[in-house]
């Protein structure tokens, strides 16, 4: 649970879900897409790397150092299970709300 709390704060969840669809991306593109500062993104990535959800590699592209972030199998698996959990939770909440709403409508229709 502690691991969940650390990995699934909104910014980290966004990073993981984005990587889930792209598999790997450059640090700069990720920063641009998520609108995070480089320091902020670095700290989130370090945390995710420590949890072994992402892999960070550095390459030289045209003599410039480039950082590439990829999602690991564990990371992809965690995104799937976490979003499935979200789905159940939110789906149940919506259903409950709709039941409450329907019963309220029924009560108001009764003269």
């Amino acid at each position: 649970m502690e691991e969940d709390r650390e990995a699934f704060v909104p910014a980290r969840l966004s990073i993981l879900v984005y990587l889930y669809f792209t598999q790997s991306t450059k640090f700069t593109s990720l920063q641009k897409k998520l609108g995070l500062t480089s320091g902020n993104l670095s700290s989130h990535l370090r945390k995710l790397e420590a949890l072994r959800y992402v892999r960070i590699s550095k390459y030289f592209v045209e003599l410039k150092p480039t950082t590439v972030v990829s999602i690991t199998q564990e990371g992809a698996q965690r995104v799937q299970t976490q979003l499935a959990r979200m789905r159940e939770l939110v789906g149940a909440a919506i259903e409950e709300q709709e039941t409450v709403r329907a019963s309220a409508d029924n009560v108001s229709e009764v003269p």
């Binding site: 966004s14 669809f21 792209t22 598999q23 998520l34 199998q73 499935a84 939110v90 909440a93």
Partner: protein
């Protein structure tokens, strides 16, 4: 949301509307607070707030949250089916590449026979060429394309899920094709090679079908695959009835079938993305 989202997902690197993503993750905490935890305090606007104002704002906010929750559900649905989409795309691509590869190999083979003279018809040269083609197909399919799906495999799961029986079937079939080719071409019965090839292809494709049936979400491909197998099996009859046309039928059915199956897989992968979320 899902239509726009899915369209932007198709083979692009600019894959996800990230605002939606950030919105979804923060919406999740908001929704949980609103629907599951204690109600969120709603600002009444001006100082003259009345209970009516309050209830209007709360209704708007609830409606908004409900909308956000539905969008979050669409995202979770997309995450759920994305691995199958990728695996179908990859399989489709493999089939199209195999079709292209075999076409190229056939052209090269024709070129060798025409220009290399006796060397071109030498059985060892033909066999070496066939083995070379299979090795290239293996390298492209299993070493270059299949690893594209590695992130979606379960951790700890074996990377190669092909069963021993499936591998053995294909090894035996390849040996059968090679021996048949040597025997039939050697004894001047080349027109019998296509029907023999089709028997091997029917068995091989049935093995492929049974193997893919073990994996998840294979139902979408079942119809296309079964049609292909039936076409291969039925094509043996005209091949035996009209031997001079047997090579033309072989190329038409097998190449056309492999291309068709590949394209069908690619289309069904995209359809999977566009289909409405399950209830």
């Amino acid at each position: 949301m899902s239509d726009t989202l899915c369209t932007s997902l198709l083979f692009t690197s600019d894959i996800f509307p990230i605002n939606m993503l950030c919105f979804c993750s923060s919406a999740y905490s908001l929704i949980c607070r609103r629907f599951i935890g204690p109600p969120v305090c709603v600002s009444a606007g001006d100082g003259m707030s009345t209970s009516e104002h309050k209830s209007d704002d709360t209704a708007d906010s609830t409606e908004d949250l409900r909308k956000q929750a539905k969008e979050l559900l669409a995202l979770t649905e997309l995450v759920r089916k994305y691995p199958s989409v990728v695996s179908q795309r990859v399989e489709g691509l493999v089939y199209v590449l195999i079709g292209g590869g075999i076409s190229l190999a056939t052209l090269m083979f024709a070129f060798i026979i025409q220009f290399a003279g006796p060397l071109g018809t030498n059985m060892i040269a033909i066999l070496a060429f066939m083995i070379f083609t299979w090795l290239i197909a293996y390298a492209v399919g299993f070493k270059l394309i299949k690893p594209l799906t590695q992130s979606y495999m379960k951790p700890g799961a074996p990377e190669d899920e092909l069963s021993l029986a499936f591998k053995l079937t294909w090894i035996v079939l390849m040996a059968f094709i090679a021996v048949m080719a040597m025997y039939l071409f050697g004894t001047g019965q080349a027109s019998l090679f296509p029907p023999c090839m089709q028997v091997a292809m029917t068995i091989g494709q049935t093995a492929n079908y049974l193997q893919s049936g073990k994996q998840k979400n294979a139902s979408a491909l079942a119809k296309g695959h079964l049609t292909f197998i039936a076409l291969i099996a039925v094509s043996i009859i005209p091949m035996l009835l009209f031997p001079p046309l047997s090579y033309a039928i072989l190329i038409l059915v097998d190449m056309g079938g492999i291309y068709g199956l590949g394209i069908y897989m690619l289309i069904s992968a995209e359809k999977l993305l566009l289909e409405p979320p399950r209830a």
